[in-house]
């Protein structure tokens, strides 16, 4: 009488499925609120750029019956034109998560390992674990990825080093010199993935451009996304850039036709109309960041504020309890225990009404704690 669970590999059996948050109407009913400010997923509160919004609205419903371009042909042409590369240097996926999975499948086999930070975007670690690949986790140093410690963790079994730059959730980042020193010391012993999901929020000339770095280092792959700055999280579009050879390898393990048509069209429109949108978004993020820093200073709360449209704060009560209490006030944040930051929350930076609602709710909850 073997159970189904007896039939799966140990590394799948021991893995816990991810439970996403429920839809807003369900959450609002359960927590008894009429409105919900979503400050948990670092979405862009301004939405997509205007041209992308128009493209989405103009999508003919009848095209819903037609398969999308199986390899996002037009979008790759647009990316190539925008960044001065070959279209074959890009691979588009159903969000960065799919691309992470494709890269690990392409480069790692039984007995291999990846190296990443212990407190960073969790999906590198998850995909490795449920694929039977060891994830070697390196502690942060002063809330930042430590190049020295990550180098020390690399062994002959290491196939990929994942560097989230800027890091989610701390917002810390490696500058050009740090990255170059790291790559030189690594000496091509492993592939390096630079995850630049939040790069567009930075306006610092010292921030390395992964798409330029990969031209000089054939072992560098770059992840970017339309889910954050470009406000297209609902369409799930991420992409990978790399050398022709590296992208060709990853393409072998990548599922074709995984990116929907409206998303591809919206992403192209967003690329063509991003200048004003990026400026407006950065302004909103800066204002919200300043507002929250003042709030946390006034409440005497420790916080970590780096690059990106989020900020992390240490809470004087359990983060999971604070989450529920804030939900009752109509504000949704991200608990950080799952990022190995127990009793911290991460708050997405949005427009003033949302920030004020968060400030009011937090103050009320802490006053009654």
């Amino acid at each position: 009488m073997r159970s189904l669970l007896d039939r799966v590999p140990d590394y799948v059996r021991s893995f816990e499925r991810y439970v996403p948050s429920r839809p807003d109407p369900v959450l609002m009913r359960q927590f008894g609120v009429a409105h919900l400010f979503r400050l948990n997923n670092n979405e862009n509160a301004l939405g997509p750029p205007p041209l992308a919004q128009e493209a989405i609205a103009a999508f003919p419903p009848a095209r819903g019956a037609i398969y999308p371009s199986g390899d996002a042909y037009d979008l790759r042409q647009a990316l190539a034109a925008k960044f001065g590369k070959s279209p074959e240097q890009f691979l588009v996926g159903n969000g960065s998560c799919e691309v992470i999975s494709s890269v690990i499948r392409a480069f790692c086999g039984p007995g291999d390992a990846i190296v990443t930070a212990d407190k960073t975007f969790a999906v590198y670690e998850w995909v490795a674990k449920f694929s039977g690949i060891e994830a070697r986790l390196v502690p942060l140093k002063h809330q930042a990825l430590s190049p020295e410690a990550m180098l020390a963790a690399v062994t002959e079994r290491t196939k990929i080093v994942f560097v989230c730059n800027p890091n989610n959730p701390t917002g810390s980042w490696w500058n050009r010199a740090s990255l170059e020193r790291f790559l030189a010391a690594l000496d091509d012993r492993a592939l390096v993935v630079l995850d630049e999901a939040y790069r567009e929020f930075l306006d610092d000339p010292d921030f390395p451009d992964g798409l330029e770095v990969m031209e000089r280092h054939a072992n560098v792959l770059v992840f970017r996304t339309f889910s954050k700055m470009y406000g297209l999280a609902g369409f799930r579009i991420g992409y990978l850039g790399g050398s022709l050879e590296a992208v060709d390898i990853v393409r072998r393990t990548h599922i074709a036709y995984s990116v929907n048509s409206p998303g591809q069209i919206a992403a192209m429109a967003a690329l063509a109309d991003d200048a004003g949108h990026i400026v407006a978004t950065r302004r909103m993020v800066d204002e919200a960041k300043s507002f929250l820093r003042d709030l946390f200073d006034s409440l005497g709360l420790e916080y970590v504020s780096g690059a990106g449209n989020f900020l992390m704060v240490r809470t004087p009560l359990s983060d999971t309890l604070l989450y529920r209490k804030l939900m009752r006030e109509g504000v949704m944040v991200r608990t950080m225990t799952g990022f190995r930051y127990p009793n911290w929350i991460r708050v997405s930076l949005a427009q003033q009404p949302a920030m004020e609602a968060f400030a009011k709710a937090l103050t009320k909850v802490l006053d009654h704690a």
Partner: protein, 437 residues
């Protein structure tokens, strides 16, 4: 890699196979390094369960037997199908009244099996499928006296504990510094504690001072598919440095388990060094210790966001549940369930564990039956005769028939003390027998 010795086999549901399987159990126990007494108890347990279950099995469906020898324990599991399961003779109270039990030959075998094992669990796997697990513990010598380390100095660091000598010393230190209620029973025989760590049954973080001396300990074990039960933090430094070391231990614990498959962590025996802000207090258990009434907070925290569940609830419990969920800001859909109009079997079955040193017993319902209220009362009386005052009962609100037992519990003198979010398949209610001894 696990050092467990394992045997698994499927046997026809025929009594002729009981003896060879029991022989196999003996061989496995010997191979796992257990003494003669434990080997015999394990052999007897396996043989009697095989005999009894062979008689129960529906349509001669085979019996799947799993035997495992761990460092600290022997474990037998029996997966079987049975249409009308009644295991009343496995109640601990049946063991206590052996002399007067009017038992059939089959029930007597079951009684023997229950008596030979240290504990057993029965899980209903859906429809007519059940899994019965029985455990026999290794016997360990009592702890030798230890002295507290002197001159502990910062900086303090933590790491996962695995060294047998350090674990033994840390457990013995905790037993010296902290009251028995707050220490797991494995600390009283410190050789058992490192074996449990080695077996993967328990995990712990140890704190060290600048010279590598042991400065603290926090241990945890799974208590359900969703929950981890922790003990500690045990801190051996001066009071001025205790808060820092306790914080390191708690953060190390939470960071270690943050991405594991568990949803909650909890404890009834957290020490006074616990950084309270990291946890929620769900309620309080009570006990008499040396004639004094003591309150033990049930502390808890989620490891991830709780966005709601549905739970079954009997009318007698509804006010308590609604007030509790409101206080804890927990979104729950409460589904009504009525008391059973009639029960399909005569004998109920309760799982029971107890610890005389900690003055503490726990009951879990395995099978409902007509005699549930009386069975609860008999268990209470049995524990009382053994001098145990604190008697808890756990109700899983995911299981309608369990939730429907609220009336039986109230009638038997139990009172709901706390709700443990996601403590079972969904939430668990912790009941305590109201009249303390």
């Amino acid at each position: 890699m696990s050092e467990d010795v394992r045997v698994s086999l499927e046997i026809p549901a025929e009594t002729a196979f009981a003896c060879p399987v029991a022989g196999l159990a003996n061989v496995l126990a010997e191979r796992a390094g257990f003494g003669q007494r434990e080997r015999y108890r394990f052999q007897l347990t396996v043989e009697e369960f095989c005999l009894y279950l062979a008689g129960l099995a529906a349509d001669n469906r085979p019996l799947t037997v799993g035997l495992t020898g761990k460092r600290h324990q022997l474990r037998a599991s029996f997966a079987f199908q049975a249409a009308n399961l009644s295991l009343g003779a496995l109640n601990i109270t049946s063991r206590a009244t052996t002399g007067t039990l009017d038992a059939s030959v089959e029930e007597m075998g079951l009684l023997l099996a229950g008596k030979a094992a240290d504990r057993f669990h029965l899980k209903h796997k859906g429809a007519d499928r059940f899994l019965l697990e029985a455990e026999v513990d290794r016997a360990y010598p009592e702890a030798a006296p230890v002295r507290l380390p002197e001159g502990l100095r910062p900086p303090y660091t933590i790491r996962l504990g695995s060294d047998s000598a350090q674990l033994t010393q840390a457990a013995a230190l905790a037993s010296v510094v902290y009251p028995p209620w707050q220490c797991p029973s494995s600390f009283r025989t410190p050789g058992k504690f490192p074996d449990m760590v080695s077996d993967g049954q328990t995990t712990c973080v140890l704190a060290y001072d600048a010279k590598g001396q042991t400065a603290g300990l926090l241990a945890w074990s799974p208590c359900s598919e969703q929950g981890l039960y922790f003990s500690g933090p045990f801190v051996f430094t001066s009071p001025e440095e205790a808060a820092n070391v306790a914080r390191l231990l708690i953060d190390g614990f939470l960071e270690t388990v943050a991405r594991e498959s568990y949803s909650i962590v909890l404890s009834f025996r957290a020490t006074s060094d616990l950084p309270e802000a990291s946890f929620e207090t769900l309620g309080t258990l009570q006990s008499f210790v040396d004639g004094r009434l003591e309150h033990h907070p049930v502390v808890f925290r989620h490891l991830r966001e709780d966005n709601g569940l549905a739970v079954w609830c009997a009318p007698q419990l509804e006010d308590f549940l609604r007030q509790t969920y409101d206080r804890l800001a927990l979104p729950r859909d409460i589904l009504p369930v009525d008391a059973p109009a009639g029960r399909s079997r005569r004998d109920s079955l309760l799982g029971a564990t107890y610890d005389r040193v900690r003055n503490f017993a726990e009951l879990v319902p395995f099978l409902d039956g007509e005699d549930m209220t009386a069975n609860l009362a008999t268990h209470v009386a049995t524990f009382r005769r053994q001098g145990i005052g604190t008697i808890l009962y756990y109700m899983d609100l995911a299981v309608p028939w369990e939730a429907a037992l609220a009336g039986d519990l109230l009638q038997a003198g139990f009172a709901p003390m706390a709700v443990l979010p996601q403590g079972g398949q969904t939430d668990k209610v912790i009941w305590q027998y109201a009249q303390l001894a």
